[in-house]
């Protein structure tokens, strides 16, 4: 990769990762202030995966997300104002407050939706890939899923069909080692989940999910293969979530030393260490994002709730 290209990418990566980081930190703030209904599942610590992967696709492509989906949506360029408003349940949110954090859908960005059912979004993303093949376009689908979702039957069925029919989809396993409190290593024999690809007859890659360039390159390769009609692949990104499963979860089931070690090589720090950006450039990026997120928070907080009549709309399309 040429130096100039690498620098431009570094800028884009830093911007997206910092935007995710800041957004999630502000979600946590709303939670602590009691302004966020329900729960959110934060992407803190995993920013490189959504960022690197979404940079590797184009505007016309689709993204299938999970209950830990804010990172995917932000990386995909969703409107942070409308996202924050949705998380606070306001009328100005993407879904007028009817979906919330776990079900944020932004169709104008090709986001098929976050999903509250672990593994529930995998067949849906696979169906979008079938539609692409059916229509004969060169779009692709990125299907994000967690380590624990890879143990759902829906994963097996979807990947098998995608492989059998060479569907243009990349399954990105965000392996943060935990399904709520259950360490994946206690409930799965083969810890490198991408090895399952062999069983489906497709390629699988296990990579450092906190290395944004690595994610970008690997997903890029998988996407190119998918676009060329060579079918799906699995990209397993090893990472670690900073917080518990949801906001407020103290995560006592985890070893604090393990968390400390992962924090030493967290995605934004790792990118900084590559010295591709100057301190001024980084400061400028941060300043812009801080402003943007501040505005998004204000917008969300100031927005009204929808009228109760809204609860009775959109059950069916007219």
């Amino acid at each position: 990769m040429k130096a100039e290209e690498k620098k431009q990418l570094a800028k884009a990566f830093y911007t997206d990762m910092y935007r995710i980081r800041k957004f999630e930190e502000e979600v946590f703030e709303f939670y602590k202030r009691g302004l966020m209904p329900g729960l959110a599942h934060l992407y803190l610590g995993e920013e490189a995966i959504a960022t690197g992967a979404c940079q590797a696709i184009g505007e016309a492509d689709y993204v299938g997300s999970t209950h830990r989906g804010h990172g995917h949506l932000v990386a995909r360029g969703a409107d942070t104002k409308r996202m924050m408003a949705e998380i606070l349940g306001k009328a100005t949110g993407y879904s007028k407050g009817k979906g919330g954090s776990m079900h944020i859908i932004a169709m104008d960005k090709g986001i098929l939706g976050a999903n509250g059912i672990v593994g529930g979004g995998i067949p849906i993303a696979t169906g979008a890939a079938y539609a692409i093949k059916y229509k004969g376009t060169d779009q692709v689908v990125l299907c994000f899923l967690g380590d624990s979702a890879s143990n759902q039957g829906s994963f097996h069925e979807s990947v098998n069909m995608a492989a059998a029919w060479d569907l243009p989809i990349v399954y990105i396993i965000e392996n943060n080692l935990f399904g709520i409190s259950v360490d994946i290593r206690r409930v799965t024999k083969e810890h490198d989940l991408a090895k399952r690809a062999v069983g489906y007859g497709i390629d699988g890659y296990t990579i450092d999910g906190n290395d944004v360039f690595k994610v970008y390159e690997t997903v890029g390769k998988a996407v190119a293969n998918a676009r060329a009609g060579k079918g799906p692949s699995i990209v397993e990104c090893k990472t670690y979530r900073w917080q518990g499963h949801h906001v407020g979860d103290p995560a006592t089931y985890r070893n604090p030393e393990e968390l400390a070690k992962w924090k030493e090589r967290e995605p934004i720090g790792l990118l900084e260490q590559q010295n591709l950006l100057t301190a001024d450039e980084i400061a400028e990026i941060k300043k812009g994002i801080d402003e943007e997120i501040k505005e998004a928070c204000k917008f969300a907080e100031d927005s009204p709730y929808a009228d109760i009549s809204e609860a009775y709309t959109d059950v069916f399309s007219e």
Partner: protein, 321 residues
């Protein structure tokens, strides 16, 4: 023509009309469908539009959800409605709710065809009638034709709907012959059919039970009893206006539905009827349904548990004898 031919015609016509319509499921392609409802479609439209899937209900019904979001009009088939239990998440948590949870950002033009019906010695796991489960979820429409003409018209309407439709055929009817109108026609949702007019009793009967109730009503007429038979055709949306109008006239209601008697469709129809026609009722509402046991295999044990023309007639006479 045969009921299954009418289904096939509906699929063929809609696939010819709109290139975004496709069918898929187990055995629908090369084998022409277990019940032959997709006969010839793979030959005519090709593999992508008439796709044999592996045995992966969660996977391929979920794919239907994704196809619908991505702009297609998928019409997957579940061989038996019992198999819907395998993929209830995709039907009831995903398909039913995505339009709502997205605040209307996406439509869900997904029609899932499935088969109900007891009385074939298919035993407990292949003989259920589960329409009430789908009716319970806001966001799903539930269609139960009782004859081939309605089946064809309702299926065409379902495919053109931008909403998830559970389309439930009856396994005993596939090879039965029916009159089917020539040419293009649609049957709307939410419009019950008065199958037989009468003044002394209203029978609301779903799916094949409407046919048995009709036969019972014809026999009863010869015996001087005037019975009105109503076929709702769609459970969601449910045409209560027609039912209430009838009960206001007759004062008596018998509901015949092939789901288990307990906690089924009949309870819902009974409540809605008494809500709007309470003061017209001259007797308690009666119902006939499948016995509240898992269905046994042996015909000697199974057949007596299912309502039929004889038991419908007997129940009617209890009310108006």
């Amino acid at each position: 023509m045969m009921y299954r031919e009418a289904i096939c015609e509906a699929l063929d016509e809609e696939m010819a009309r709109d290139k975004n319509v496709l069918v898929f499921g187990e055995d629908v392609g090369v084998n022409n469908g277990t019940f032959k409802c997709t006969a010839g479609l793979r030959e005519k439209y090709g593999d992508l539009r008439c796709k044999d899937t592996p045995i992966s209900e969660t996977g391929f019904i979920g794919m239907g959800v994704g196809m619908a979001i991505a702009g297609l009009r998928p019409v997957p088939e579940l061989m038996f409605n019992d198999f819907a239990l395998v993929c209830m998440d995709q039907i009831c948590n995903q398909a039913a709710k995505i339009t709502y949870m997205s605040g209307g950002q996406t439509k869900m033009p997904l029609t899932i065809r499935m088969t109900m019906g007891s009385g074939r010695s298919a035993a407990a796991q292949h003989s259920q009638n589960l329409h009430v489960l789908f009716a319970h979820f806001p966001g799903l429409k539930v269609v139960m034709p009782s004859n081939a003409a309605d089946a064809k018209g309702l299926l065409k309407t379902a495919i053109r709907e931008d909403n998830p439709v559970i389309f439930i055929e009856h396994k005993l009817q596939y090879t039965q012959q029916f009159e089917v109108p020539e040419g293009e026609y649609l049957v709307p949702f939410g419009q019950a059919n008065v199958v037989h007019e009468g003044t002394d009793l209203t029978i609301v009967a779903t799916s094949v039970m409407a046919r048995y109730a009709e036969k019972a009503a014809i026999e009863l007429e010869k015996e001087g009893k005037s019975v009105e038979v109503i076929d709702p055709r769609t459970i969601v949306p449910l045409d209560m206006d027609t039912i209430v109008k009838s009960v206001n006239k007759t004062g008596k209601l018998l509901i015949v539905d092939e789901g288990h008697e307990n906690f089924g469709i009949s309870g819902e129809i009974a409540w809605r009827t008494q809500k709007d026609a309470f003061y017209s009722l001259e007797a308690p509402i009666m119902r006939l349904g499948l016995a509240n046991v898992p269905l046994p295999f042996s015909p000697a044990l199974e057949m007596p548990l299912i309502p039929d023309k004889k038991s419908i007639k007997a129940a009617a006479l209890k009310l108006i004898g």
